[in-house]
Symmetry: D3
Subunit: 239 residues, 6 copies
């Protein structure tokens, strides 16, 4: 879990999931967005980290009494304590938000342990409390019932699906107001570089558009003038 | 509708739907959460009251012209005027939010009459106005079309389903940021007591976690030290 | 696109989609609400304009490489530059929010060009940025992937479906906190007039209800007293 | 339950749900089809009878142990024994087929008691056995779990929704290969008459089309020749 | 509409949609299957033809009274009479089967006019009758209500979506027991050739498997022996 | 995989999934039915065997070119060749039938190798061919696209979810016309015994009902006479 370079992490903090999705699309990767999750946190959210996964399967009643958490080796609790600093916990809840994937106490512990964020394609309980924590959290919708009602934690750090996206441990996970995207580990550096470049151009375009310029020739940069203007802008803005 | 004790109501105002869901789960009740509803009101929401129900069926066009509301005995309007103070109106809209379950005028009247809240598994119209009222309201999503488009009020205060949960008149309904849960009437007192106890422990655990303590042995309290610390905390905090 | 009278536009800015839905319902039009879309913008939103449409079909991979936008005649980019001032861009995204319908740069350009709003039954990317723009935008949910992933713009200004509602170019589109409704062009003036009248009465009723009056006889106005009181209120409030 | 005239029943046995849907559409009734149900029986199915309803609500675990059927007054069992001859049992299962609405023993008893059919917007268990019985049965899909898992029978012969259609006790229910439609009781005679007329014309048109005639002018009968030919056909075929 | 070569059509009649899907997948086309449609016809179904499309939009009540079919120029009726021999009518019903896309009379007329098949991502009425006709028909499920209830035919032979697949007029449409697939027009010949080759190999493999041979080395043909055996089999079976 | 006793297997072949579901319900197991799957095979289907599982995750395009099957160690191909005789292959396809879980060649090989059946909560390709094989197969619906389009086989014989049911390797899986149910391994013998007893009683009840007897007192057997008659029937029928 030390594969994510500090500079790559820093670059990824400055770009959007939309820009990353386009960079991945150019490489033939069309399904890397974790579909239909949103941040609980108010304001501008930014999350970057390597994926550390937790797989849930449907709960069988006799195996999931309230007493299971007495077991220190229970995968959900184990994950919370073993999760490495800087990682993002991604939970495969089979897109089922009828019971919680986790609650505020576990998320608080993750925050204290320095994890970079938490994502489920199900829902969190105590969602109003989680929203106030200084850790990015993404889910489908709030859900109060204990996870034991429908989910049994069965595997730690195996490849999973989350919101119809493939997630391999070590993939780089980025989240913002649009949701969460998964960058295959081996592409993280080059995607980060490319996204930073793309973001510079998009910021330039946005400025131009705000000044009233037409999109034609500007976005994409099919006119020579656009390229010249952009070069000047980069020099002027030091980007 | 005077079965809910004042002290039980007060206790329930201090606990979360997540805690209540766990207390019900321990008793084998796994489906008491009204699924996929959320508060319209901003900020921290807290709703407690006995269920008073309204059942909608699919509207047949010839029976639901705009003129039906001329009838003072129309079940929807009747419910609004007869609803007892302190109760929560729970509407079975068959999880269909394509037309409204009610609008701001009716919800305003309910507020003035002292009802404790309103819940539908469909949607409200005038949702921005309702969000500003001093009455908790929960729905699936905003929906502008008049209820006559798809819903006919057919029964008052019968057992219903709401968001896949069973709701009997007189059940105790509690709502917060995670949604709405239904406590069977005969369990309300004991569940309230147990939830207050659980909440004290959860507050203690949260404090400990925020100070950096591991979850193992703490939550659940499998270590003797946890039990000792909690006893001391209760004394110190007077809980 | 100059058919919408200035005074009709002004009237429609003062009424809600809920009131408009009822006025349309009275004329047998029951499906004019664009289902399941919501404003990105915070606070009170109000959008009025004539529909200018964009039809998306499912993207075929070989026809939708990233390079298609090099073409100045691409329907999506063309729409953005040709869209008339005061119009509302309505996009038929086949209720598929798994890829974006548009992003902040195009929406910014629309804003600068003076369009009155933008609606999709899919999702927008850069949703946090769009939320800050001074142009009403409505979608189902945020979606980061480029539209090329799933959507190909194929037609400009043809009749479309959007959120299960029929939308003809020139229909008058109104949006607020409850979502977006479509008024057939030929009914716009009379519906606007009627909705203004209805709104006056609803405002009167709301005031009365807030003062503690019962709904029976008041809403609808089946009692003579209600009609007298309303007449007095109109005189007093100059409405 | 003796309001359905023998001759109306006989007429309705000769017409299709498609024809009936059109006749109802002409009267402004657009939602009378029970959506997404299909016959279990192989071959050509025809079911006609007055609706006798059963309403299910979500099951609460403590109220639905296996022992509830020991009670002779249990609404589900009561319905089976009280259901009048010639009626159609329509069950509101809230479109939830995850647990059964009924099984082959109850359906066999209904058959023996002379009921005309059974419909649920959920599913039947023992579906292969029911398919072999001489009673039309319609559901969404097979479902083995006992109804107690998710459904509690709560009301007999009240107005219900079934597959999004409104069903009032006494409405006339007709089923065939396309599914099940509900005719409001007061319209049954006139709809039956009109549908018989429409069916004669459709049979004539089908014959003509099979002989190679164009649809234009024929269907609908906008050409004088069509009307003359149809009159001759009726005389010739004695219809 | 005479672009589909006779020999290509004949080849496509001998291969499955599964084999075609793999051939398209190899070319990066992953979404050409019309999702979730099935044949009405019993037994082995085979349909091949060029796409001729019909686009439906949501019906507005005032534009879709029963009298609209009096108009000979109505797009639905026009399509039925203009549809070229050998073509496949593909209807974009927006995946909405709550009302019919067409009924047995129109399908009969299409059959008599020599069209090769009909596909909708909605449903057909008179489905039991259509099942008996000698024309392949594919839909999602039976649906009795007249199309006017929810669908307005608005365009003939424009690019559409059907079951989430892109369909351009002239694309080659193939259907069998697994459903319906769309081959881009320019690829039809080469895909047909490749699929015939693949089918020969799959038939050989099936024979081998039925004789007890392991799949490893056989499918795919990673062993030299497989290639030799296949060559011998082709010679022996004249394929 | 030799834990399933021959006599338990034989008993389970004589009972229905409906009866098994009730026996499991009595033990508090309410979610053992694999939801929304059906047999491809015509006629009466009966499948019994121990679960051997295959887990699919969402396919990432770069990891799933057509060439992956060249690898003999590919989990899907490996499963097919390693699957033990008498077992039932249960595939977790995440309820996604948009691409195939397997096709006729692999299913043929499984049949030849003596496996007892195959189940997916997705779909099979070549479904018409599979329907003709002498091996029970259950899926949600036919699906032609190669599994590589959406599914990557990632794990063999781990605990999975299938159709919302928990499936552990070694659980006993039973399928019939109503679908597929999962019996926890440790309960298989006692559930089989109980289900055989229940089936005897249900057969007796069915006979009585067919002779015109009322359900009251008979089913359940609350009358003494029922118990006496059943005892006599068992003696007479040797059951």
């Amino acid at each position: 879990m030390t594969n994510l370079k500090v500079e790559t992490r820093e670059k990824l903090k400055t770009v959007s999931t939309a820009t990353l999705a386009t960079a991945l699309f150019k490489r033939g990767l069309r399904n890397q967005m974790i579909q239909d999750v949103r941040p609980l946190n108010p304001g501008d959210v930014s999350m970057v980290g390597e994926a550390y996964t937790l797989r849930y399967m449907p709960a069988r009643e006799d195996l999931n009494p309230i007493s299971v958490f007495q077991d220190r080796g229970h995968p959900q609790r184990k994950a919370v304590e073993e999760y490495p600093e800087g990682a993002v916990l991604v939970i495969d809840s089979r897109k089922d938000a009828r019971a919680a994937s986790a609650g505020s106490i576990l998320v608080s512990r993750l925050m204290k342990r320095g994890v970079a964020g938490i994502v489920t394609d199900g829902g969190f309980r105590d969602s109003a409390d989680i929203a106030k924590l200084a850790i990015p959290a993404f889910h489908n919708r709030p859900s109060a019932p204990t996870n034991l009602t429908l989910h049994q934690a069965i595997d730690i750090n195996v490849p999973i699906g989350c919101g119809d996206a493939p997630v391999f441990p070590g993939d780089v996970v980025v989240g913002d107001g649009d949701g969460v995207i998964v960058i295959p580990a081996h592409l993280a550096d080059e995607i980060a570089d490319e996204a930073v470049e793309m973001t510079a151009f998009e910021d330039f375009v946005t400025e131009q558009v705000m000044e009233g310029r037409s999109i034609l020739g500007l976005y994409p940069a099919t006119e020579e003038r656009t390229r010249t203007d952009f070069a000047a802008w980069r020099k002027a803005t030091n980007r």
